[in-house]
């Protein structure tokens, strides 16, 4: 797809696989018919990064021109323009639209930005309706767990303090702490610390919360509170009344800085007694309900992040994942498989409703879970993912994974996440294309007519809500090709198809933007395999498959992911491989397909498929990140990258194979969630003897340092911050590397091991065995 990239100036310093459009497709040439599409095995899907940052983005300071309803597509470079008649023809619906008067000056040499052929992605920044009104401030509501041991509480407090220091002065801040009960701190109460206390055991409705907070009557003045919750497009201009109750609980950071800090100083661990043999009572669910209710009343429609800092499982009230009795373990993947987790479905239902409420209000839930045990990420996943929230899973609030990730949210520099709010994505397609749905951090708005009957992920719509998104946020759109009778008639041979992504959002500065990306692809006749092969993107395909399989695993009971993947791969190879029937040795694959089997091999062994090796929380966490990261990053999750460092040669990529281990090499494994620096035995010995500190061994010192630096480079750009593991060959931590390597030599083949090499104690098949089987089966 790189040829689609039309970068202004053409000087791309580093080739960007996602391009300006941020769109990557499994198939860049689309089969014409449904049958042919199904024969392609890999679904027709696009991975889009709707608000990717790019230095070449064109920002237009006026409102877009739209095709007449119901189409509503925005004028784009693919529209045919009749400069004379001042007419443009929509490439989607072929309607003819007159240019409005202010486009009167348009002619061949004077075209507006959106018509530049390289500007397939432009961003409109129309002036706000009310220029005088400052953009609504971002809102941060911290929801802090206090059922923590003193040490953890100390960590979380210091993280909070740091965060408060980083908040923009005008940002509104609120604080909820919870343990056995929920404490909502009224920061705007000057006389003393005032706290609203909600019981942890009882589910309370939004209306009750408002009633309890005395907001229900005051709320009449806000449109937000009256009537049923409704979705509001963009921030309401009147969303914030300075005089109203908003400022009871949410205060500008500059005003409550002192209050918050003193509150934190005084904050103690939950004081309710914990009986022996029991877990602390922790009402995460109610706390989040209260947060959602409060925000719904005060600031519905504006950009809000609920930042939940959770240190343990919810043990009471709605959203409870495990009883307080310690003899009951937190549900495992096995329990879920056997449907033996008593609280699971109830909790899911609760968080599902919470998600709906938050989406209605346009608010984001971020989850920072830091505990050795599970905290219920699996259950809360739905609320986080639907609202486009961030999620970080760490072992402790003192762990760098948490500390650094948490800080990143508030930083406003180059590494800034570019957190945006209140996004709405609309997709227009050429006819014959329908949309099955989206996998990723968004919520279906259930509207639009171009939806496919079969649904994948958030479907039944051509419009999605993304309460929170950032510049790396990535969605996977699944298309359905369903040519109507008429269009299949040869009479109208339009070789191109068009898809337009319209992304409304509130950028980090609070301004409303509309980013429009219009792409075109070619229809090909399904029988023309070569053309299809040419347009195949195996990285995207691997990621899409991974996402698709994860979804199926989640949705379908008894789904055998490994088997499904194997079958798909075999079918794909049968369809697109070159071979003689029944002759495995003759099997070859086009370069565009060549790495796919390896991806599949690694995917089968990855945490996404081998879920029983992980807790449900971890699985949910991995899956959420898989669904929202870019293709490049996702590929790393599936198939980690391995770099090898040694004397006398530059760092080089190494095979993800146990054979890459060598006593005098340092390996740097990037498995996305963790980064492992692995010192070969010899290197480790040298290091232990301190050679690196001796001037004559400066080279060694540099060698040691190089992977560290590279690791830091990776860490710096990544969110959540990966876990950095530094280990030595044969050390206990070495398992973080070994588990990812192809077990080409196991204890069964130990005799073949080269000196300094390593073996993996596993019965798993190696890539070689896998490939052999694949070949054999594909040619049948």
């Amino acid at each position: 797809m790189s040829d689609d990239i039309a970068v202004g100036g053409g000087a791309t310093p580093t080739p960007d696989p996602d391009g300006l459009d941020g769109v990557r497709m499994t198939w860049n040439s689309w089969p014409r018919s449904k049958v042919e599409a199904s024969k392609c095995v890999i679904p027709v899907a696009a991975s889009i990064a709707p608000i990717r940052a790019s230095p070449f983005l064109v920002v237009l300071p006026y409102a877009p021109l739209r095709c007449k309803p119901p189409c509503g597509a925005v004028l784009n470079p693919f529209a045919r323009v009749d400069f004379f008649a001042k007419i443009w023809i929509c490439p989607f619906c072929f309607s003819r639209n007159h240019f409005p008067p202010h486009y009167a000056g348009i002619n061949e040499t004077n075209v507006p930005g959106e018509l530049y052929s390289q500007c397939t992605t432009v961003e409109y920044a129309p002036p706000p309706l009310d220029a005088a009104a400052p953009p609504p401030p971002p809102v941060f509501l911290f929801v802090l767990d206090t059922c923590l041991i003193e040490e953890e509480l100390g960590y979380v407090k210091s993280a909070m303090r740091r965060a408060i220091g980083l908040l923009p002065d005008h940002a509104l801040v609120g604080l909820i702490t919870f343990g056995t009960q929920v404490h909502l701190h009224e920061l705007g109460f000057a006389d003393m610390s005032k706290i609203y206390v909600f019981r942890g055991t009882k589910e309370i409705s939004k209306e009750q919360i408002l009633d309890h907070l005395g907001l229900s009557s005051a709320g009449v003045r806000h449109g937000a509170v009256t009537g049923a919750p409704r979705y509001t497009k963009g921030p309401q201009p009147n969303g914030l009344h300075p005089s109203t109750s908003v400022y009871r609980f949410l205060l500008p950071a500059s005003d409550c800085d002192y209050t918050l800090n003193s509150l934190l100083d005084e904050l103690q661990s939950d004081r309710w007694p914990v009986e022996a043999g029991n877990r602390a009572l922790r009402c995460t669910g109610v706390a989040l309900s209260v947060a959602a209710g409060l925000l719904g009343a005060c600031v519905a429609g504006t950009g809000v992040r609920i930042i939940a800092l959770v240190g343990g499982p919810c043990t009471v009230g709605p959203g409870m994942i495990v009883s307080k009795d310690l003899s009951e373990p937190v549900r495992s993947q096995k329990d879920l498989d056997k449907d033996a987790a008593p609280h699971f479905h109830k909790a899911i239902k609760f968080y599902d409703n919470l998600a709906k409420q938050l989406v209605n209000q346009g608010h984001v839930l971020d989850l920072f879970a830091s505990a050795l045990d599970q905290v219920g990420v699996a259950e809360m996943k739905v609320a986080v993912e639907r609202t486009g929230g961030l999620v970080v899973l760490a072992e402790s609030f003192g762990h760098p994974v948490f500390k650094h990730s948490f800080k990143r949210i508030f930083e406003d520099d180059e590494q800034s996440l570019g957190l945006a709010f209140n996004g709405t994505l609309d997709i227009n397609c050429s006819k014959d294309i329908k949309i099955q749905g989206i996998i990723g951090p968004c919520t279906s708005l259930d509207k639009g007519s171009l939806c496919a009957d079969s649904v994948v992920g958030q479907g039944n719509t051509t419009s999605w809500k993304m309460c929170g998104l950032d510049r790396t946020t990535c969605l996977t759109v699944f298309f359905d090709i369903s040519p109507s009778e008429r269009s299949s008639q040869p009479g109208i041979p339009n070789p191109q198809l068009y898809i337009q992504f319209l992304m409304h959002y509130q950028n980090p500065k609070g301004q409303m933007r509309l980013r429009v990306t219009t792409i075109t692809r070619r229809w090909v006749d399904g029988s023309n395999t070569e053309e299809l092969v040419e347009g195949f993107d195996q990285e995207t395909a691997a990621v899409v498959l991974a996402r698709y399989v994860s979804l199926k695993m989640e949705m379908e009971k008894e789904f055998d992911a490994t088997r499904w993947l194997d079958r798909s791969l075999i079918r794909l190879c049968s369809r697109f491989g070159n071979y003689r029937k029944e002759d495995p040795a003759s099997f070859t694959l086009h370069p565009n397909f060549s790495i796919l089997p390896q991806f599949m091999f690694n995917l089968r062994r990855s945490q996404f498929i081998q879920v029983s090796n992980n807790s449900p929380d971890e699985t949910a966490y991995f899956q959420m990140l898989l669904n929202r990261e870019s293709i490049t990053n996702s590929v790393v999750m599936i198939q980690p990258s391995l770099l090898s460092y040694s004397f006398n040669s530059p760092p080089a990529p190494a095979l993800l194979d146990v054979a890459s281990i060598s006593a005098d090499h340092i390996l740097l494994l990037d498995a996305y969630f963790s980064i492992v620096i692995f010192h070969g035995m010899t290197i480790a010995q040298w290091r232990n003897m301190g050679y690196q500190n001796q001037p004559e061994h400066q080279a060694f010192s540099q060698l040691l340092q190089a992977p560290q630096d590279d690791a830091q480079m990776i860490i710096r750009d990544r969110f959540p911050v990966p876990r950095l593991v530094i280990c030595d060959q044969h050390g206990s931590q070495a398992r973080f590397l070994l588990v990812k390597l192809n077990p080409s030599s196991t204890y069964n083949s130990a005799h073949e091991v080269v000196p300094g090499g390593d073996v993996i104690f596993t019965d798993d098949v190696s890539l070689q065995v896998f490939s052999e089987h694949l070949q054999r089966l594909a040619v049948q």
Binding site: K194, I195, K202, Q208, H212, G214, E266, R271
Partner: protein, 1086 residues
Amino acid sequence: MASSSPPFASGPPRPRPGFAPSANANVAGAPQISQIGRPVPSSAAPSAPLQPSPFSAPLPASSRPGHPQFASRPPAAAFPQGLVASNGPQGLAAPRIPPPTHAQPTPPVGAPASIRAPSPSAASSQAQAVRPFPGSPPAAAASRPFTSPPSSQQFGRPPISHPLSGSPTSQPPFGGPPTLQPPFAGSHPALAGLPTTQLPFNRPPTSQQFGGPPTQQTFTRPPVSQPYMGSQPYAGRPSPPSYVGPPSSQPFPGPPTMGAPSGTPAPAWPSQPRQVLPSMPGNMQAPPRMFGMPPGTPGHTMPPVPPAMGNSPLAGSQISTPSKIDPNQIPRPLPSSSVTLFETRQGNQANVPPPATSNFVVKDNGNCSPRLMRCTMNQIPCTGDLLSTSSMPLALMVQPLALPHPSEEPIQIVDFGESGPIRCSRCKGYINPFMKFIDHGRRFICNLCGFTNDTPRDYYCNLGPDGRRRDADERPELCRGTVEFVATREYMVRDPMPAVFFFLIDVSMNAVQTGATAAACSAISQSLADLPDGPRTMVGIATFDCTIHFYNLGRASQQPLMLIVPDVHDVYTPLHTDIIVQLAECRQSLEQLLENIPNIFENNKVAESAFGAAIKAGFLALKPTGGKLLVFQSVLPSVGIGSLSSREAEGRTNVSSGDKEAHKLLQPADKTLKAMAGEFAEYQVCVDMFITTQSYVDIASISVVPGTTGGQVYYYYPFSALSDPGKLYNDLRWNISRPQGFEAVMRVRCSQGLQVQEYSGNFCKRIPTDIDLPGIDCDKTIMVTFKHDDKFQENSECGIQCALLYTTVYGQRRIRVINLSLPCTSMLSNLFRSADLDTQFACFLKQAASMIPVSSLSQVREHITNLCINILHAYRKYCATVSSSGQLILPEALKLLPLYTLALAKSIGLRNDGRLDDRSYWVSLVTSLPISLAIPLVYPRMIPIHNLTAKEDDESLLPASIPLSSEHISDDGIYLLENGEDGLIYIGNMANPEMLQQIFGVPSVDGLPSQLVLEQFDNDVSKKLNDIVNEIRKQRCSYLRLRLCRKGDPSGMHFMSYMVEDKTPGGLSYVEFLVHVHRQIQTKMA
């Protein structure tokens, strides 16, 4: 003072804390006082006079025999009881005329003062002796107790009767003075002249009553005063040091000091007591009798007939007659201020206790002090039939923690060690002086169930020749009517609870704006010093409007944290700890908080009140320990659990329901609060409510909570931020500092033959035999009614034992056992002679209160009138048959019953024009009202205060009271009327400007403020008035809500509504009422 071991620890004495101090203080800088460290402020002064007087009085009396007295009080003697004669033909004018004249002038002044114990008593006793029927009685009577004294007295008495004779009806009473001697003579004539003659005979007795003695009994107040001498309890808010300081400490501390039981009082009292005692001897015999006929009568079968008013047979004439009755001659209470010594038993026989309102000192020698427990009749009818024939109620008023008189011996504490108190193994009755040891002491017979128990080996003791154990006099439990046992583990389901006080303050808009919140905060803040000392005292605080605000007080040195519980439909506590903390630890932050609360909520715009939820939340906070929940509430609970609607308004608009359904509004609106209260009680939470309101708050519904948990309602309507804070503070202070107990259980046992029928009062009852009292204090009274389930032998005694298991504020678990043993009789006349007016009336009062919510007012009034009529009818029918049917004959003991019944019918609770809340409050007040306050509540005391300086000579601090009749009110007068709750100062429109200036600081009636704060100005009148008010406060244990009433405006009307002897639109005058009663009796007789 020995805070730790305190009161009781000291063992022996447990005096009446609260008030004791004062009394002593005055008396002689008693030890207690000194200990307390409180200065003997002004209070001292007032008290001083009182005490001295009581005692001193006796002396004089003794010194000067009867004569002077009699002379002086002629009027009194005259009328006595009884009879109000309507005048029939003859009785008519005569009586009144002569006496009247005397009577009027004299009665007020002379009577009270003159009436000394000795004389009256003497008279009465004699009278009885005499009148009895010609035949046997006299002699017998004489032989009995009274023999010696009576005789002498008798002499005196007869005269009294005499006057009567002259005018049969009027009798000497009024003629009093002269009468004394004439009596004899008089009587004869009387006899001769009229059918009434017998009356005369009978009457004599009656006459006596009228004469000094009787009256005294009924109304003696003074005694009361002493207990309270302390005065401190009522500190006039901040300023008056006199009241402030010590009170709290004393209540309890006092006792401790008592360590030397006798000791403490000794200093103070000693002097006086001694005086008294010495004198007593002489008086000794007298006193008992003094009080009433009872004394004299004890054994007598005496002639039933007492006073009767001659009444002509003519019905027709009657109607007209009423008017002719001289209002001044009809029975009225007469005060007495002297102190008497009352021995509960004498000669192994129960003595009849003096009137509850009189000033007496009890010597417990087997029966309990009547303050703790007294029965409607001092002899128990042998059969249920006899009881029902008498129409009198058989009930017991138990005030288990009643304040003792300062000079009484404290209640002794007995510790049986590990084994616990000795109890009957069948009925579980506690060892008491009436358990009979037999078989050389090896076994004992229970006086309650008759079971023969083995004496535990280590409790064994030989019997002396008299059949008593040799050690009986050394063992309090064998010689005292009341003792307190140290409870063993067996009596505890958990460790004794700490003293926990949780304050709950309404901060809704109304409360804040009317100043109620500020007043409450200030009262609490000032009262903190009065809470019991020590580590076991815990406090907590919360405020509420439509949410509940708790405060975390456990953060030493930090500002309190406000924790809001917003869910008022399903409340909870916001913290596990730190809501209730040790007083010592949080004192400062609490004071700071109380100071801040009014400011914090200054602009509160929340008008709703989640009262029900708030008390529930308070309860939850207290649940682990139990304790007292003190609620300050200002508006109708409108949201959350137990919210109420403004039924009053609905009732008004819904006229169709009319009067018939009106009483429904006096029932709780629903069962929510009742159920909650039951739960509170289960966890030992006692709720007191201070209702500072200016609107309807549906007391009928909310008073259920205090009513079930052993608490009480305080009502300030309409709340005035100017004049009410003083009372609020003093009420609160007394509430928390008075002697009290927690987590109590009470049971009354009685001898076989009787059984407890019902308990009534403020408590929670879960099982039929016991009542649970999460809180019990010295002011709470419980009524226990009995019924027969068997017969008693004529000469047996019926034992009644009340056992109260409770925890002191210092965390000791105690069992207070109160015993009363009364003789059984099969003579109806004995029943009437031994009838106890105060108790019976209290019983009526409580019955009426319990009926109010379930019956229409007219039915209630009719019911109580019938109760009165039935009794009088029974007496007339069975005990006074000989007298003329034209006479209204009243039993001596109950001669004031008609008056009080009338007053009751006109009281706030039974009046048609009252507000719902006033009536509900009245009901809730009455439910736990002590006997000593029962009569004052309906028949208040009115004293003129425009002539305070006039009579300097009076030893009594309080001027004599005047009858509650508008005839006695003049336009140029100023009057103080008090009923133990309210104090009304009535100012005639012609009042002397100089007097106004002196008392109120304003020169004219028009300049008077509408809200009264009684100030003390630098002049004698003002000082005197303040002294009087303080004295009354001490007597009543109540600060009094003082209000100004002016003739001609609503306040004046309000005042006039207390003139119960007047004819009112809806009610009869006293005279008319007597006529009505008489006619009813006649109808029944016919």
